[in-house]
Amino acid sequence: MPAAARKETDYPMDLLNTLVQGLMLGGLYALFAAGLSIMFGVMRMVNLAHGDLAVIAGYLVLVLLGGTMFPLWLVVLVTLPLFAVIGYGIHRSLFSRSLKAGPLSALLVTFGLSIVIQNGLLEGFSADTRTIDMGVLNTGAFHLNNQLSISYLGLLTLILAVVVIVGVQLFLSRTRTGKMMRAVSDDADTASLVGANSKHLYAIATAIAFGTVALAGIMSGARSSFDPSIGPTQLIFAFEAVVIGGLGSLWGTLAGGVVLGLTQAFAAHLDPSFTILAGHLVFLAVLAFRPQGLIPQRTV
């Protein structure tokens, strides 16, 4: 039986391949989740428009690529700081007002924002699916053998996720602003007594969250197609990564993203229609049996 024999020899390779793909998918989820985790860690706020912001970033890159002569790297380099600035502005104008009115208000404001963004994008770009063309990044891969390949894009995404999370972690632990951000997160009232302007520091956290989610949106837009309505799905995956990893812990978020990616990859391996559900079930299992998450300690 040649078929069975082949299957047997390929099995470990197959598993290894799934592991690698899951790891890279997890990198993307961690990248999505980093911003959510930062905002929760610093100001206990969940931005329900998080995924929709990533989608806007995808469209913005498409528009800039199509409408200007800029190369991709320059477009990305323009988009990320632009999103950070927008994040700062939205925080000072909208989020800080809603945080003052109470966390319920913040939730409703971001939910409303999410609906505005989705329908605004639908109005502007129609419901057609789009992809960001990154040339060789989209198609290229390291072929380790004929079973196992590592795509440039997946690897780059995973590296970016680690860089972002390590970077934010270093920012929080080493810089003056980062330390003050942690102080404000601990006790905003007392932090103001040492000179911290919590609105400004929260807005910086929002800026970081917007910048990183824009990066996530761009990477995801190159990896698979997107349309105006996929924001909530991105939000849910990011949210699951944060909760699985442990609230307020950035390392946890990285771990959570990877767990989610691996789960989905292995589930897809068994039965593709089971992919998303398996991720949700792992999330619910963590909620039921380990509600503090994998790495619960608060590092932010």
Binding site: K179, M180, D186, D189, T190, S192, L193, V194
Partner: protein, 242 residues
């Protein structure tokens, strides 16, 4: 020139009139104590001066400049630092980091993290430790250090001795002259009257938000202070049943 001047200050918690028509002035290099029973309005007064709680009426001037409406985080750079009641250290920050937060909007002056560690040599060994692992007295020292490194012109301390062992309280009070001698005025709030009387140049006794007695400790008799503190007699018209 008067360093800190508070005039006819009124502070409310919603309907509750916590500080009523309060006035005080602090001269450079002075140690002023505000004493009063629990709930007299001392913390509310301190928070109003530090900017955490906006007063409803009255003025606060620092070095002649009106700072009544300035938000707390901008008063730090002007030279006011508060050691809040209950220390309130940042839980997820180490001892060293807690001190460093104080330098965020620091003015120039003799104090920095090193100088504070000189004052409290044990802090060096524990610099990397989490602030939650410290004893009450050590936490108070870090809280004072955190306020000092901003090089304030006036250091406000709310309940210096609260919850500390008598020996530790003594050490804390022994510190005050070393702070004042470097040019910082101290305004402190105490429930422990004898400590406050021993340390201060000037005492205000607060009862239900009003000053009922004021003077330098030498001029006040223990009976006067006791009456004012508990509101037993009408020392200055105690607002009984208001």
């Amino acid at each position: 020139m008067t360093l800190l001047e508070v005039e006819n200050l009124d502070v409310h918690h919603g309907q509750l009139h916590a500080v009523r028509g309060f006035s005080l002035s602090v001269e450079p290099g002075a140690t002023v104590a505000v004493i009063g029973a629990n709930g007299a309005g001392k913390s509310t007064l301190m928070r109003a001066i530090a900017g955490s709680h906006l007063p409803t009426a009255g003025t606060i001037r620092l070095g002649g400049q009106d700072i009544t409406r300035l938000p707390a985080h901008r008063r730090v750079a002007q030279g006011i630092s508060l050691v809040p009641e209950g220390r309130r250290l940042f839980k997820s920050l180490s001892v060293q980091e807690n001190l460093e937060t104080g330098t965020y909007r620091a003015g120039s002056g003799p104090w920095n993290v090193d100088a504070v560690m000189e004052l409290f040599p044990w802090m060096r060994e524990r610099a990397r430790q989490n602030s939650a692992s410290l004893s009450g007295g050590q936490q108070q020292a870090v809280a004072i250090g955190r306020a000092l490194v901003a090089n304030p012109k006036v250091l406000l301390i709310d309940e210096l001795s609260l919850g500390l062992a008598p020996a530790v309280v003594k050490q804390m009070y022994a510190l005050l002259p070393r702070i004042v001698e470097r040019g910082t005025a101290v305004l402190l709030v105490e429930q422990d009257v004898s400590q406050a009387l021993a340390a201060a140049d000037l005492v205000h006794c607060l009862l239900e938000g009003r000053t009922v007695l004021t003077g330098s400790p030498q001029d006040l008799t223990p009976a006067q202070v006791e009456q004012a503190y508990f509101g037993l007699a009408h020392a200055g018209g105690g607002p009984e049943g208001n």
